[in-house]
Symmetry: C2
Subunit: 361 residues, 2 copies
C-alpha cells in the first residue's frame, strides 16, 4: 500500500493507494464520529462496488444508507445535490453522519459539496473509482456543482478525512475514461517533474496494460505532485494555476464541440499539445521536446490534434473563459520540457499554435 499525506486547512489526512482497499474498512472505522455513514454513488458504480463496501461496513456495525444518483456530468446540478439532502434529511442524518463518495469526479465533487454544506458541514471520505478522480479530483479539496451559466460555479473548499484510491476499481473503467485520467498524469510531469515525465515515457505501455505496480506508482506520484502544488496555494491565489496546463485550450475544445463530445481529459491532452506548440513558437521548447510530448500523449490513447473550430472561435471561447488584458490571454506555458509557468500569449502566437495543432478544416 502506498500513502500520500496531505495537510490542508490544518486538517491533515491520508490518501491510501492499493488494490482491494474497498473492503479494508479498518481505515474508515476509526474516523467515524458515529457508526453511521451515507454512501453516495451512481447507477453505474453502485452495481459494481456498492455491495462490497456496504457489506464490509455493516459487518462492523456501521449503519449504512446508500444514495444512488443518476450517472453523468449533466446531473452535477443542484437538483441532484438535493437528492442527497432529501435522502439525509429523510433518514434524519445528523452532523456526525459521515458521507462517503464512491465514484468518479462527478460523484466526488457533488458529495464533497453536500458534505460541506449539510448542516453546515459533516465528515467526508472519498473513494475515487476513476483514474482521473484518483489522481486529480479527489486531491485538493475542491468541491462543486455546475450552474446553467458555468461549470463548477457553486462549491466549497472542503477537505475529506481520508481518500481510498482502490486500484482494483479501475479494472472496469472504460478505455477512454482510463486514458482521460492519463492526460492529467502526464500533465504533472510537464508542470514540474521531468523525472516523472521520463518515467511515464518508459512505462506508458505497462500503464496502458493497467499493470498494478505501474498504476500505483503513477497514482502516488500524481497525488504527491498535486498535493505539493495545492498545499503551497490552497485557495488558488497563484501557483495552483499551473494545474491548468492544457486547460484553457482544453475548455475551448470542450465548449466548442459541445460538452460531452470529447472527454475532459481528451480535450486537456490536445490542449497540452497546443500549449507545447505555443511554447515552441516562443522558442522555449525544441522540436524534439514537442515530439516527445506528442508521442507520449498519443501512446496514452489520447488525441494530439485539436478539432478545426477556426482560430476566431477558439479566441472567442478562451476570452469567455479567461480575462483578456490588452489583447493578451493568460496561459500555462512551458519554459522547457518538465517546467511550466504562468504566462501570457499574444493573439498571433495563439493563431500560430492553432494553425499547427488543429485538424485541417
Amino acid at each position: 500500500m502506498r500513502l500520500v499525506k496531505l495537510d490542508l486547512d490544518h486538517a491533515p489526512y491520508d490518501i491510501l493507494i492499493a488494490r482491494d482497499l474497498l473492503t479494508q474498512v479498518q481505515h474508515i472505522l476509526p474516523l467515524l464520529p458515529q457508526k453511521r455513514v451515507a454512501i453516495v454513488t451512481n447507477e453505474t458504480v453502485a452495481p459494481l462496488y456498492l455491495p462490497q463496501l456496504q457489506v464490509a461496513l455493516e459487518a462492523n456495525g456501521v449503519q449504512v444508507q446508500a444514495i444512488v444518483l443518476p450517472d453523468g456530468e449533466k446531473y452535477k446540478t443542484w437538483e441532484t445535490l438535493n437528492l442527497i439532502f432529501d435522502g439525509l434529511l429523510g433518514a434524519r442524518a445528523e452532523r456526525k453522519t459521515t458521507l462517503i463518495a464512491l465514484g468518479g469526479g462527478v460523484i466526488g465533487d457533488m458529495t464533497g459539496f453536500a458534505a460541506a454544506v449539510y448542516q453546515r458541514g459533516v465528515p467526508f471520505i472519498q473513494i475515487p473509482t476513476t483514474l482521473l478522480a484518483q489522481v486529480d479530483s479527489s486531491v485538493g479539496g475542491k468541491t462543486a456543482i455546475n450552474h446553467p451559466l458555468g461549470k463548477n460555479m457553486i462549491g466549497s473548499f472542503y477537505q475529506p478525512k481520508l481518500v481510498l484510491a482502490d486500484l482494483s476499481t479501475l479494472d472496469t473503467l472504460p478505455p477512454r475514461e482510463f486514458s482521460a485520467g492519463l492526460a492529467e498524469i502526464i500533465k504533472y510531469g510537464l508542470i514540474d517533474d521531468l523525472a516523472f515525465f521520463e518515467w511515464l515515457e518508459a512505462n506508458i505501455d505497462v500503464l496502458m496494460a493497467r499493470d498494478t505496480d505501474a498504476l500505483a506508482h503513477a497514482v502516488e506520484h500524481s497525488c504527491q505532485n498535486k498535493a505539493r502544488i495545492v498545499a503551497a496555494d490552497e485557495k488558488e491565489h497563484g501557483q495552483r494555476a499551473l494545474l491548468n496546463l492544457g486547460h484553457t485550450f482544453g475548455h475551448a475544445i470542450e465548449a466548442g464541440l459541445g460538452y460531452g463530445a470529447w472527454l475532459h481529459g481528451e480535450a486537456v491532452a490536445a490542449g497540452m499539445v497546443l500549449a507545447a506548440l505555443a511554447s515552441k513558437e516562443l522558442g522555449q521548447i525544441s522540436a524534439t521536446d514537442l515530439e516527445r510530448i506528442t508521442a507520449l500523449i498519443a501512446k496514452a490513447g489520447l488525441p494530439t490534434v485539436s478539432p478545426a473550430l477556426g482560430a476566431e472561435r477558439y479566441l472567442d471561447l478562451m476570452a469567455q473563459d479567461k480575462k483578456v488584458d490588452a489583447g493578451k490571454i493568460k496561459f500555462i506555458l512551458m519554459r522547457r520540457l518538465g517546467e511550466s509557468y504562468i504566462g501570457e500569449l499574444t493573439v498571433p502566437v495563439i493563431q500560430a499554435a492553432l494553425t499547427a495543432g488543429c485538424a485541417a478544416a
Copy 2:
C-alpha cells in the same frame, strides 16, 4: 460610533454601530478587492435603503449590481438563492466581487451562504436592517437556507469582512419585528450577564421608544456577548448552545402554531418564560426572579404566555427538534438570574412548566 471586534476563523472583522452608517461608505471601500459589489436585498428593504447605499458607492467609483429578492422566510430556499447566482453569473461577477447583504436575517443568511459558495467563496459584508439581525444573525458567521424537511439545514460557517449596524434603519421597523429583536437581547442578559439584564430593566421604556443611545448600548452589548460565546466555540460543539436559551420551547411553539403565526423572537420570549418556569420548578430561581423576567419580556412587547398546544404535542415537537436520551431532553436552564447552563429536564418537570406557562386550553 461603537465598535465590536470579532476574531473568528483567523479573519478578524469589525461590527460598527451608529446611525447613518449606510452612506458612510469609507468603511466599505478599503475592504473591496475590486471596485465591484452586488447588493442583495428584498422588495421591502430595497425602496427604503437601497438607493442611498447604491448612490454612495457609485459616487466612489464602485460598480454596483442590485439583486432584489422576494421578502419572507418562505423564500429562504435554494430557488431564491439561485436568483443570486443567476444575477452574479449573468453579470459575469468574478471572485473579487463583494456581496453586500442589505436586510434582515433572511437576507443576511442567504447572502452569506451565496458568498460562501459562489465560485467557492467571495468577500461578504453585512448591513443588517432588523434589530434581530443586528444583535444576532449578523454575528457569528452562520449562514443557511431552509430545506422542505428542516430549517437552516443547508449552509456554511462563513465570516463577513465587516458588519455595519445602521441604527437609523430601525426607524422603519414594524413594532412586532422590533420587539422580536428585543427577545434575543434579553436572552443575552439571562445567559450570563446580570448587569446587562438589570440595565435592560432600567432602560426598557427608552429602548421601546427607540432612543438612539439606549439602542446603541443594547446592540453593542448584545454583539459583544454573542461574539464572546461564539469565539469560544465557533463550530458549535459546546457552550455556543447557550445561545439556544428559550429556543427549544420556542421552536415547538413556532412549529406547533405553524411557522409564521408567531415571529421567532416572540416564540423565544415565551420559551424563555417556560425555561424560567422549569428552572424555578428545579428550585434554581426564585418567584421574584421569575417575575422580573416575565415583567421585562412583557414590557418589551413580547408574549409571556405560551399557546395551549397541550403537553403531549409540545413533547412530540421538542423530541423532533432534539435528541431524547432515556426520557430526558437537553435544555438551556437558569442556575440563577443572569446565569444559564446546558442541562436536561425530565418529562414531569417539562409538564409542570407547561402547565404554569401555557394559556388555558
